[in-house]
Amino acid sequence: MTFLFLGYSVFWLLLAAYVAMLGARQRRLAEEVADLSAALDKGAGRRMG
């Protein structure tokens, strides 16, 4: 029973850890997109006027 519990727990923990890692990666990329877009907009603004 202990090994059954441990087996299922580790299974779901690893899966949840991977999903959390993907979520963190998505947030980091979204922030980077926002920063880079702002930098490009700033550069375009400088050229315009």
Partner: protein, 238 residues
């Protein structure tokens, strides 16, 4: 300028919405509905997630194989993105297979690990796809990375049949659930156990599909980031 989308598309969310109840149902069948195995007792129930994980690792690596061939033929970056994503998910499912198998082995064989042919070849497969990701990380230039990874992804797939048939080709301790009697495949299991195994495999395949859709979206997003970085660099230089 247009800000690229930073939210994963609907496909992953829809697949997850289908996968979640399927997984709950599969867990009910695996932990409550399926009968206890006569000699192994309740610990045999690890089998359902173990087989589901192994099947999904094979499936993910098959996707790497097919999309790698596709990339070499058509050079479409989208195919390379799917291959990279599927390799990562295949590694996840192989990790789950090894981890759940280890708990089963400890309970039944009284060891966490043994150099049985099935276990050893699975470990080799795991290392091969970790090497695939390392090749991707080390290669420079999108075209070169895609080409190198595709060749590696095709070659690495040789480990999948090796793992699958290892229990038939070499004598080992790992149980072989499908046995051939007079050329006909037979499963020496209770019909309720077979149904539970198939439901668990189907539910985890849906999880696999949801993860793949999510991961592919992230791969596209990271390529957009690379593109934006390049534009900023050019802007700064001009």
């Amino acid at each position: 300028m247009t800000v690229p989308t930073t939210r994963p598309k609907k496909t992953a969310a829809v697949l997850l919405a289908i996968a979640a109840p399927a997984v709950v149902f599969a867990m009910y069948m695996a932990l409550i509905w399926a009968p206890d195995e006569r000699t192994l007792g309740t610990v045999q129930r690890i089998f359902y997630i173990h087989v589901g994980s192994a099947w999904n690792a094979y499936l993910a690596f098959l996707i790497v194989f097919v999309t790698s061939i596709g990339y070499l033929l058509r050079r479409r970056p989208a195919l390379d993105a799917v291959a990279a994503s599927a390799a990562e998910i295949g590694i996840l499912f192989t990790t789950l297979t090894l981890a759940t198998g280890s708990f089963w082995a400890r309970a039944v064989w009284n060891v966490w690990w043994t150099w049985d042919p099935r276990l050893t070849t699975t470990l080799i497969m795991w290392f091969m796809y970790i090497a695939y990701l390392l090749v991707r990380a080390a290669a420079e230039g999108e075209e070169r990375r895609g080409r190198l990874a595709a060749v590696f992804g095709i070659a690495a797939f040789a480990t999948v049949p090796l793992v699958h048939f290892s229990a038939t080709w070499w004598r080992g301790m790992h149980p072989n659930i499908v046995q051939f009697q007079g050329g006909t495949p037979r499963m020496n299991m209770d019909p309720e156990m077979i149904v539970t195994m198939l439901v668990a495999v189907a539910a985890l395949t849906l999880v696999n599909a949801a993860l793949l859709a999510y991961r592919v979206d992230l791969e596209h997003l990271s390529r957009r980031v690379a593109l934006l970085r390049e534009r900023v660099r050019l802007e700064v230089e001009s």
